[in-house]
């Protein structure tokens, strides 16, 4: 283990950033997705194009936007569009990646961000809802998802489906009227990285974070997982990744600090 100290948000953002390929177009939500995209752009994917839902396209790398309509999403941007224009570009298939969070996920990558509780009209907890997540996951070719890993979040049946994954499995998206050949691609958690088995469209354990066991992942997952033949271990954040995250991307620690409380 390295001697670098970091919290789980810094770790998740670092790992996720490594999967964002250079030259692709990414639509990122607020929070860790934006951290990861900003980090990728500064470290290894300088030609990553970011699209934000309020209309910002390809801003210069700057401090982390605090909202999807923050003027940092248009800082020296090459294009300032509008929200419908942003979603219309996505609807045409412009975005390689969407990058989202959520409150609950199932084995097909369907996301709930609307409510906790069995009855829509009597929610235990009412959550904010889709925002632009539904469009992002409906339209992007591949959707990255980032969320905390436990049995309340990784569930057999979400209370509500806000944002489509593969819906009820192979062919589900096409039957529902969504564009074919798109869907959830990878899930990043504080325990592991998961992807989706191409035929069954079911979530599959791909790699572990250092110190995490397969048993631990199973224990924290509320549905039956599939497993890659070779489950690898992710590399810890590098000094450079941590420096960029802390000094350049989120110097005010608006998002990074949310990982501090949980550390011992």
């Amino acid at each position: 283990m390295s001697k670098l100290k970091y919290n789980h948000i810094e770790f998740m953002a670092s790992i996720a950033s490594r999967y964002l390929e250079d030259g692709k177009v990414v639509f990122a939500g607020t929070g860790i997705p934006m951290l990861a995209a900003a980090l990728a752009k500064r470290i290894h994917s300088p030609n990553l194009v970011l699209i934000f839902e309020a209309g910002g396209v390809a801003p210069e790398a700057s401090m982390l936007p605090l909202s999807v309509a923050d003027s940092r999403t248009t800082y020296h941007a090459t294009y300032c569009a509008s929200m419908p224009a942003a979603f219309e570009m996505l609807q045409q298939g412009i975005a390689s990646y969407a990058f989202l969070g959520g409150a609950q996920i199932d084995k097909y990558g369907n996301l709930n961000s609307t409510l906790i509780g069995d009855d829509y009209y009597h929610p235990k907890t009412r959550l904010p809802g889709s925002g632009g997540a539904n469009e992002a996951a409906s339209f992007a070719w591949q959707t990255f998802i980032i969320m905390n890993h436990n049995r309340n979040r990784f569930v057999e049946k979400p209370y509500y489906i806000t944002t489509p994954g593969y819906l009820d499995g192979p062919g589900g998206r096409e039957r529902a009227g969504l564009a074919p050949d798109a869907g959830p691609y990878m899930v990043f958690t504080e325990l592991c990285v998961l992807d989706f088995e191409p035929l069954s469209k079911r979530m599959r354990l791909k790699s572990l974070l250092p110190g995490v066991t397969v048993e631990k992942v199973i224990q924290e997952t509320g549905f039956e997982l599939l497993f890659h033949e070779n489950i690898t271990t992710e590399k810890e954040p590098t000094e450079e990744e941590l420096r960029v995250l802390r000094e350049e991307v989120d110097p005010w620690r608006v998002v990074l600090s949310r990982g501090d409380a949980k550390e011992e």
Binding site: Y121, N134, I161
Partner: protein, 273 residues
Amino acid sequence: MPIAFVHEVLRQGFRNLGMASGTRNLDGDFLLDNDRIVKLDIGYILGLEMLGIPLYARTLVQNKLKTGELKISEWTNGTMAWRHKAAAMGLPFLPVRSLAGTDSFKYSAAKQIECPFTGIKVVLVPAIFCDTCCIHVHRADKYGNCQIDGMLNEDYDKARSAKNLIITTEKIVDTKEIRKDGSKTVIPQFYVDAVVEVPNGAYPTNMPGLYYLDLDHLKAYAKAAGDRSGESLKKYYNDYVFGTKDFKEFMKKCGGKKRIEELRKIEHMEGRK
């Protein structure tokens, strides 16, 4: 909605309102905190993105959902943007390809049909015509020709789809200024019912190119909004809204010109790369 506008809606005691939008955060939460909303057509509510969760308003919304005093129609940011766009185009609906297959489709008013030309399934979202829309712009003339710098978000279609359109503007300028570059005009005069000059009218939120959001103020609000008892919010609104006679007095309380100058520097990232 510009914060200056929302303050005045609160002060003047408007209630039993419907609110229609994609994402609303601070502005929408102000109205929810004060129990002014009975109907929502919405994509995102009760969130302050990264700043936290407005627990008092959330409890209020949950309770009112139970009693039926609050009705929610579920949408997404895209489908709400297109509902406004349909109205702005003078059409009764638009076909789109999101929302399909989800519970939000069931709890919305959207319909799904087969496209008569291609046979693919499309979701139809109905046009929405708000009674009143208020938009804050960088500059407008006295006739209502409005120019906006930077991204447009939902402004273009919302302005065109509302029955009454109120413009708050950082500055009322001579029409000659507008004529210098008509391509910057986003809202032409015939949509506009009123123009009000309100410098810094978006504060403590962000006005692109002019001032960044005031993170300290927003954090203080988020902290108050996270107090379930409502006591902290009562103090916030008494201090900043009901205890001030207008937006000018509110701005003075928040540090006035000096604070705006600090936020201008942050907006342009002076001293930072």
